[in-house]
Amino acid sequence: MKRRGFIAGLGALWVAGCNKVADSETGSKLLSAAQDWHQGAHRLLNNREALAPEYPRSAISPTFRGNGSTDPQNGDYPRHAAEGFANWQLEVRGLVETPMTYSLENIRKLPQRTQVTRHDCVEGWSAIGEWTGPQLSLLLDAAKLKPEAKFIVFRCADDYKGLRYYESIDLIDAYHPQTILAHQLNGEPLPIKNGAPYRMRIERQLGYKHAKYVTAIEAVASLEGIGDGKGGYWEDRSGYQWYGGI
């Protein structure tokens, strides 16, 4: 018992030291700088267009776990779900020359990309699914991004624990060939728990970046003034890294 107490004391001392460093201004700057170093290293070592692995259909996992919101009950969502999303509208707006509005039918008529990819949750689990949808680049090019646009923000329909979900990525990931607006999982319409009618697939980043229940795709020059300004729901709420490639 005594020895355990000694080790626990050492552990507590180390934890206290780390807390002190994290609370200091330099310490917290250093902690958030580390994600930029990783992102820089990832961009340096990977080609911008390098693809995340794609698997054969036989690798698809038996079910695809739903996480976060799995059945939104706020606003119009339950009504849209009951209608099979027949009247769901997706807007492409913000810093674009031609704002656009798409119905689910319009989205299905666009050229599609199908990819069997792995979803990695920040908590550590993975699942593999086959996703189908138009590439985000197609929608952005149709609306013509203005030169000031630096980030793409995804607006979502779900309030999760009382806050509206949203996410954002930079233009390198937005124009990545595997970044798609998925409306099918394993050849079927996307289930509600996985984000019906649309979810983003940002294949080189962790699951919390893959916004579900997307209502609008918005081009912006800066992430300031959106939510708490950190670029996403979990970034604002819990301090997750904006760059989810680590």
């Binding site: 250093l30 580390a34 992102q39 990832h42 920040v122 550590g124 993975s126 593999i128 080189r204």
Partner: protein
């Protein structure tokens, strides 16, 4: 006991800070999803080969459950850890510490010699070999420097989805993303085991002198 090179001493203490912080923040990350899988995917207890126990707050950084802060620490310390290990390998090869003190000879691998070394350890006699380190020490340091520590980096890179487009071969080599994650946890605990044995042996072999020589370099004895 011969002198420890300055590079060895600097790296040793930098590495202590990195490894302890990485380990303790890693335990928070382990608490986030306590199941380990083999292959590419896995997401529920029924698929797991092992359910890891939940670690108490005094073992984790930060001292409460906060995955974002734990990841911040883990991601920050990965840099001095990886760069430090590279530095240590370059220094060790350049100053011939590796060839001179850590590589083993064929004679040392004879079962009789290994047995003798084990017996001497059990008698708590650690100064029984001609060189700087005895056989078991060489084996332990060589394995930690050459396998355990590099494996932490390779498995860590493999868990990172942003690195996989260029390092997919590494993920495949390790048996898939979830296998790489399992191996990351296994090697972390192997390092923990080394850490415990290392500390115990320091305590048994005169802790004041050992710690002093790892700080100042220590004295050179002529054989």
């Amino acid at each position: 006991m011969t002198k420890h090179a300055l590079s060895t001493r600097l790296w040793h203490w930098l590495n202590v800070i990195c490894v302890v912080t990485l380990f303790m923040s890693g335990l928070t990350i382990s608490n986030a999803h306590r199941y380990l899988y083999w292959g590419d995917w896995g997401f529920s207890p029924s698929m797991a080969w092992y359910a890891v126990p939940r670690f108490p707050n005094w073992m984790t950084i930060p001292g409460r459950y906060n995955l974002a802060v734990a990841r911040d620490w883990h991601i920050l310390m990965a840099w001095p850890f990886a760069v430090g290990l590279l530095f240590m390998w370059v220094a060790m090869l350049a100053n011939r510490h590796f060839q001179r003190d850590i590589t083993t000879t064929r004679d040392e691998w004879r079962p009789k010699a290994i047995w003798k070394d084990i017996v001497e350890h059990l008698k708590l006699n650690f100064e029984h070999a001609g060189g700087k380190y005895n056989f078991l020490q060489k084996l332990a340091y060589g394995t930690v420097l050459g396998v355990f520590l590099p494996m932490m980096i390779f498995t860590g890179i493999s868990i990172s989805p942003g690195m996989e487009p260029s390092f997919g071969w590494l993920v495949d080599l390790l048996g898939g993303r979830q296998s790489a994650r399992s191996l990351h946890f296994i090697f972390a605990w192997l390092l923990f085991a080394f850490f415990v044995v290392h500390l115990v042996l320091v305590l048994l072999s005169g802790p004041i002198g050992q710690i002093r020589s790892m700080i100042t370099g220590g004295k050179t004895h002529e054989a």
